[in-house]
């Protein structure tokens, strides 16, 4: 098992290297020079050159790339162009609010999705199943932005059921997180349920289910003892793959509800062309994704007895 994990980690290195290349190309080669935008109109050439030197943008590209690699390996991403804060510090501070929204929303959303798909498996072909399919396809067809705007306007602004926006650390922050969390669940439920349903129905048609019925098991026992355990393998995979993306939270939700997380931070950075911040967030996102993939494979090995042999 340990050698398997080590092998997977070594396999991930080229991918991470690729990520550094892509982000570098996007920001330093295609993106070019953010200095003009930073100094504003009417700045003298001297000023521009000075800033450029300060940011290291006057050096040849290969040197800039090695500098970037050094930043990554030391987890020191320099300072934000816009706020002059240390980026590592900003990310550390932003992670808490992001996770406080993302983790509970993700958790409840996934559980709800699994419960609904189990019910669908029980009532396959009946009204509940059809209704679920219709609702999830319809739900997936509405823009995320429409959910957020309508949710915030009708549930917070008009009815006053929830605070409009804001964030506070600790338990006092809970009321602020309910509505964005709810919207998160609704947005993700459509595609989750559709996926889980396909998985469940796929399993229900397997031969071993027929065997289980032939033993005289009732449908609940077949579903919970036999089907669920098999269905959990693809379900876990999908969920674990989604986990790394939790750290950026939802860019839009955080922005709309003024949650000072990494999502808001990314949007602010994009609005102010704050390249180092976006670069850092993007790279850490990719790092977590690659790590998440390794965790997925390990979960796989734990949930599926067939994997252990390989």
């Amino acid at each position: 098992m340990l050698s398997y994990i080590i092998r997977r980690i070594i396999q991930a290195i080229p991918t991470l290297f690729g990520v550094t290349l892509v982000t570098f190309i996007v920001f330093n080669v295609v993106g070019g020079d953010p200095v003009y935008q930073m100094v504003g109109k009417g700045a003298g050439q001297k000023e521009i050159d000075a800033l450029r030197r300060e940011l290291g943008l006057d050096r040849p590209l290969y040197q800039q790339y090695f500098f970037y690699l050094k930043q990554i390996t030391t987890f020191d991403f320099g300072r934000s162009y816009a706020t002059k804060q240390k980026i590592s510090q900003m990310i550390k501070e932003g992670m808490g609010p992001s996770l406080s929204l993302a983790v509970p929303a993700f958790f409840f959303g996934s559980i709800l999705g699994i419960i609904i798909s189990l019910l669908v498996a029980l009532y396959r072909g009946k009204l509940f199943d059809r209704l679920t399919v219709v609702l999830s396809v319809a739900g997936m067809s509405v823009s995320v932005l429409a959910y957020i705007i309508a949710g915030q306007y009708y549930l917070a602004y008009m009815s006053g059921l929830f605070p409009i926006s804001g964030w506070e650390p600790g338990l006092r922050g809970v009321p602020f997180l309910v509505l964005p969390g709810l919207i998160w669940v609704i947005v993700s439920l459509g595609s989750d349920v559709r996926f889980f349903r396909t998985v469940m129905l796929d399993e229900i048609n397997q031969d071993y289910v027929r065997t289980a019925y032939a033993k005289g098991l009732g449908k609940y026992r077949v579903l919970f003892r036999h089907v669920l355990k098999n269905a959990m393998i693809p379900i876990i995979t999908r969920l674990v793959i989604a986990i790394p993306f939790l750290y950026t939270g939802s860019l839009l939700l955080e922005n709309f509800f003024s949650i000072p997380g990494l999502g808001s931070m990314s949007i602010n950075a994009i609005n102010s062309s704050d390249f180092p911040v976006i670069k850092a967030i993007t790279f850490i996102g990719a790092l977590l994704y690659v790590g998440g993939n390794i965790v997925t494979d390990i979960c796989y090995a734990l949930a599926d007895p067939r994997v252990r042999l390989k």
Partner: protein, 289 residues
């Protein structure tokens, strides 16, 4: 025994019988027609004309009311069809060929080429999609052209992965070996013998890609790196953030959301039906049961 039809024919007959899928297909065709009419100036929409007061409520004259400058919202929503369809279309046009070519090369030749292409796409799929998309749209400069490129460059991965998987599967088939033995070159085998079998899957994935491009435009427009100066659905939905609060102006939001909902729903239903009719596993199952 009745005469057996080809798999594609059978699938298409099945699809033709599916009423919901046919309605969806009609909706998609109607949207495409509107987009083409606007694009070719056969339908000239007065999107910049002031027709009334600022923020007039929906009425018989203007069924979706007017916007801040007194322009007819319904006309602008219709114009949005062209923007959305062009974004969906051009994104697909960029991403699908990249995906097919890379996927086919990787799956067919294997070895080093495969390793290299898998490396490229696993790199792209590791980067948080929305961040990469926003960053690309930002560095390419604002405007619809950047939206096309940014979406195209970020969305080929799914198709590439599917095509590669299928090519690996078909590479080992007997008829492909037979074609090799008859001296067919790799290009001929790829395009003549394997690709036609993969086309239904590509088609399904392309229509999903189309949908996600239309949805992504809204987010890009909200962040401010989207379509500029044109009435796109994304711009109209984003404006609602300011219009709803205090003024209660819902019509622009409603019009754009509904117009988008209908086409995305049609695409979702259609690609589902397409998948069902082409998936031999599913169709066998329904017959068995």
């Amino acid at each position: 025994m009745r005469k057996s039809k080809s798999l594609t024919q059978k699938a298409l007959t099945e699809l033709g019988r599916d009423k919901l899928a046919m309605i969806s297909f009609a909706i998609i065709a109607a949207y495409i027609l509107i987009a083409l009419l606007i694009q070719t100036n056969l339908l000239n929409l007065p999107i910049h004309d002031t027709v009334g007061e600022s923020y007039e409520k929906p009425s018989w004259a203007h069924i979706l009311g007017t916007d801040i400058f007194g322009r007819d919202v319904f006309i602008r929503v219709i114009y949005g069809v062209k923007i959305s369809m062009s974004i969906g279309f051009i994104t697909t046009l960029i991403a699908v060929p990249i995906g097919i070519v890379l996927g086919a090369l990787a799956g067919f030749f294997g070895g080093r080429i495969d390793d290299f292409i898998v490396w490229i796409y696993s790199t792209f799929s590791s980067i948080p999609y929305l961040l990469l998309l926003l960053a690309l749209a930002l560095v390419l400069g604002k405007g619809i052209f950047s939206v096309y490129i940014a979406l195209g460059v970020t969305s080929w991965v799914g198709i590439c992965r599917v095509v590669r998987g299928e090519f690996i599967k078909y590479r080992e088939r007997d008829y492909v070996t037979a074609a090799h033995a008859l001296g067919a070159g790799p290009l001929r085998i790829i395009f003549r013998h394997i690709l036609p079998n993969v086309l239904p899957l590509i088609f399904i994935n392309a229509s999903l890609l189309f949908v996600s491009a239309i949805k992504a435009e809204v987010i890009l427009s909200y962040i401010g790196v989207g379509v500029q100066g044109k009435p796109s659905w994304g711009n109209m939905i984003s404006d609602a953030k300011l219009e709803l609060v205090g003024r209660g102006v819902y019509w622009q939001f409603l019009g754009a959301t509904c117009a988008m909902f209908i086409i995305v729903l049609a695409f979702n239903i259609f690609s589902d039906a397409l998948r069902d009719s082409f998936d031999p596993r599913i169709s066998n199952k329904t017959k068995e049961r």
